[in-house]
Amino acid sequence: MTDSETLVRLENITKIYGTHKVLDSVSFDLKRGEVHCLVGENGAGKSTLIKVLSGAITPEDGEIYINGNLIRSMNPRKAIELGISTIYQDAELVDSLTVADNVFLGSEQTGFLPFVVDKYRQFQRIKETIDALHIDLPESSLVEELSASQKQMLQIVKALHRDSKIIIMDEPTSSLGLQETEALMEIIRNLRNQGIGIVYISHYLDEIFEIGDRVTILKDGEDMGTYDISSIDVEMVIRKMVGRDASMFYSKKNVPIGDVQVEIRNMAKSGVVEEVSFSVRKGEILGIGGLVGSGRSEMVSLIFGVDKPDSGEIILNGKSVKIRSPRDAIRAGICLITEDRRKYGVLTGRNVIENTALVHNEVFRGPIIDRKSERLLTADMIDKLSISVADDDQKIEELSGGNQQKVIIGRWLLDDAVLYIFDEPTKGVDVGAKEQIYELMTHLVENGKSIIMVSSDMPELLSLSDRIVIMRDGCLVDILENSGVREEDLIRHFVGVDPKMGGTKTNGKPKKTQ
């Protein structure tokens, strides 16, 4: 293909958040009439790269060429003008308007009366597009009445009406059933034949081999190369996605593992988590892996009493416990260190003492606060976790991310518990603090506690867990003994590629049509 065929060229794009390079000199190009896939683990930088292309974020370094022209400052409006449309998994549509109104939102068609929308004309114009795509999309129904796949179709129609030449699809099939996925593939082929360039992001590798022309692989923000689909196979893609050097792994001390201490039986909530059962032993760290949206965090909320399960039983030390709220869970001896510390952890505007002693004062003390004791306990915890704090009235939001995380963890260590659940324990935490948090977790299991750790960080999952639970689409699909498990094995389990079968989804998309 000649150079005039190139729609997009991204050169050496670098994006930095804080001290962390989310994208490190990544290059990417898209030609007319091709489907170019982007693959990589959670957090590899796929979404960041397409946000750069759609103008949602500005990179620190690198150049963007659209149709051969260098674009100096990209923003979402300009991206649309240049013919770039992004189709998100959670569609940005107005639920209370009709299909046609959504398509023409912001560029309504008027008849001979100014300011009055000519609905008939809108219907006519949209019908042409819908017919050309051979899709079932009633133009006069409300968006809230549409199915997930119809919403996706609507976004495509909208993109075509904007005369888009470049369409970005971010995980378009994650909420679709098998048949709907097939229909989408058909539309994508159709668009490709019309000369539109498509950037396609998916966790499902078999889709990529079905639809893609080329594939670019990202790992921890690094560009692992671009390949023609015909010159590469699933095994090779997986190998490129993983494979980190030993320095990224933490070597955990061996801790003797005792009897079963925690049992989860048939925990289920319809549409979210399906009949999950497992047990955790004394001194054991049970890792939970899976893709984002596989139901890991949801399952943890069920155990902690945040959500009400449809069924399920929790057994601690042989006794069944009734948990109807986090308070019940805490009293029973379960702790949850949440993933989103800003949203669910820190008390903004309050000082370190109040933040540390929160659970202790609330659940285990009488109505009057013992200010001297909470002060001593906090001082002790600050010492033990080496949290750097200026003085006793420092507000928690003034601490660094790592120190905030340690305060939140410290909150749960003031009193003894049986089971500690860590949801992404080191997200947004610097390397030094990471190591300390790992040591702390090791210390907990040494003292006979049990830990459940949800993590998207592969090296973390592999270096800390004794066993790894694999979740996919709300189901527990396997529990692996963590001996000799490699990153690529995990990825294979997460996305559901059977190593023997090569490229098929063994347990693809169960009943998630709604």
Binding site: Y17, K51, A56, I57, F304, V306, L316, S325, P326, R327, I330, R331, A332, G333, L336, T338, K343, Y344, G345, V346, L347, T348, G349, R350, I353, E354, L358, V359, N361, E362, V363, F364, G366, P367, I368, I369, R371, R375, L376, L377, T378, A379, D380, I382, D383, K384, V389, A390, D391, D392, D393, Q394, R411, L413, L414, D415, D416, A417, V418, N447
Partner: protein, 339 residues
């Protein structure tokens, strides 16, 4: 199992966190004190009668009721809630109490009934807000009309005078100088300070106001914490209603109207943001004092009472601007990072 839990490691050797050395001038109330001193000096220069003992004691007497209401309102705002029906609630409670005193029910029972009414009213505002998941601003706005309407219906809009019957609380001057009502408001401030700083309830109030999700995940019942705060607020409103009735010696449905705005203004000027999670009683005390001094100064300078209303409105807007600007400085309002 819960009771057997103990500290995982009791501190063997007491360690210390550095005590915060916050300079006094960094407190918002210090700024208020400065403004108040400046206002007093200016007023005193224009009208020297400002600095007479009797005038200063008058100020304290005038701000007593506002102070009691503002104490309860401080807790409510910190917990992230609001109640703008307190004025109407005072109107209803003082009318009922006055009518009962007039019909010779004695004093004790009418007072208890009055206080129970305001507690119940505040509870209604909080409960409807929780149950219907509506902001308490809206439910209290609706109840303002309900309370005022009931007061109008039972009094048929007439004045309920009890002159000379129930004056002790509102008009007594200790040692012939210090107003008893002011002492009552001081007690209210101390009670709120104790609750906020030394009790589990106080910690809950701050926690649910700062981050309700984090509070819930730490075992706090957000609903009960907020309802308790509403009940306490009702208690303070009730006491304020009784003090007010005793001082004026009469009640009518419009008694207390507009005081909710002054109370919210005093609390916000004192450094408690409407978004909750922050604030202390010291700021409220000086906020109330500022209201009192301004009101008195305007009288002393013979400013048209209608313009006094205008002044208070502008003052509250100004205090909101100050609180927003100070959070801007700290970067809390920074635009959400695209991520």
């Amino acid at each position: 199992m819960g009771n057997q839990r103990k500290h995982s490691d009791s501190p063997t050797q007491p360690k210390r966190i550095a005590k915060a050395k916050k300079p006094i001038y960094k407190n918002q109330w210090f700024f208020l004190v400065m403004v108040e001193i400046a206002l007093a000096i200016i007023t005193g220069m224009i009208n020297p009668r400002f600095f007479t003992t009797s005038n200063l004691m008058n100020i304290l007497e005038q701000i007593a009721v506002l102070g009691i209401i503002s104490s309860g309102m401080t807790m409510l705002l910190i917990s992230g809630e609001i109640d703008i029906s307190v004025g109407a609630s005072i109107g209803l409670a003082s009318c009922v109490t006055a009518m009962m005193i007039r019909s010779d029910w004695g004093y004790f029972l009418p007072v208890v009934v009055g206080v129970v009414i305001t507690i119940f009213n505040s509870f209604l505002v909080g409960a409807t807000s929780r149950v219907f998941k509506a902001p308490s601003f809206i439910t209290s706005l609706a109840f303002t009309s309900v309370f005022r309407g009931i007061a109008l219906a039972i009094t048929k809009g007439s004045f309920q005078t009890i002159y000379g019957k129930f004056e002790t609380i509102g008009t007594t001057r200790l040692w012939n100088i210090l107003p008893l009502s002011f002492i009552i408001s001081i007690v209210a401030y101390f009670v709120v300070h104790f609750i906020l700083s030394y009790t589990k309830l106080g910690r809950r109030i701050y926690a649910v106001g700062s981050n309700p999700s984090a509070a819930y995940l730490s075992g706090i019942s957000v609903t009960w914490s907020k309802l308790t705060t509403f009940l306490l607020n009702g208690l303070f409103v009730g006491i304020a209603a009784i003090v007010l009735l005793s001082r004026i010696g009469a009640a009518q449905p419009s008694t207390g109207s507009g005081i909710e705005l002054k109370a919210i203004g005093a609390v916000v000027i004192g450094g408690t943001p409407l978004t909750g999670g922050k604030g202390n009683i010291m700021g409220t005390f000086f906020g109330v004092l500022l209201m009192g001094i301004i009101s008195n100064a305007l009288n002393m300078m013979r400013v048209n009472p209608y313009f006094q209303e205008v002044t208070f409105g502008i003052l509250i807007i100004a205090s909101l601007a100050v609180s927003v600007l100070s959070s801007y400085r700290k970067g809390h309002f920074s635009v959400r990072k695209p991520d």
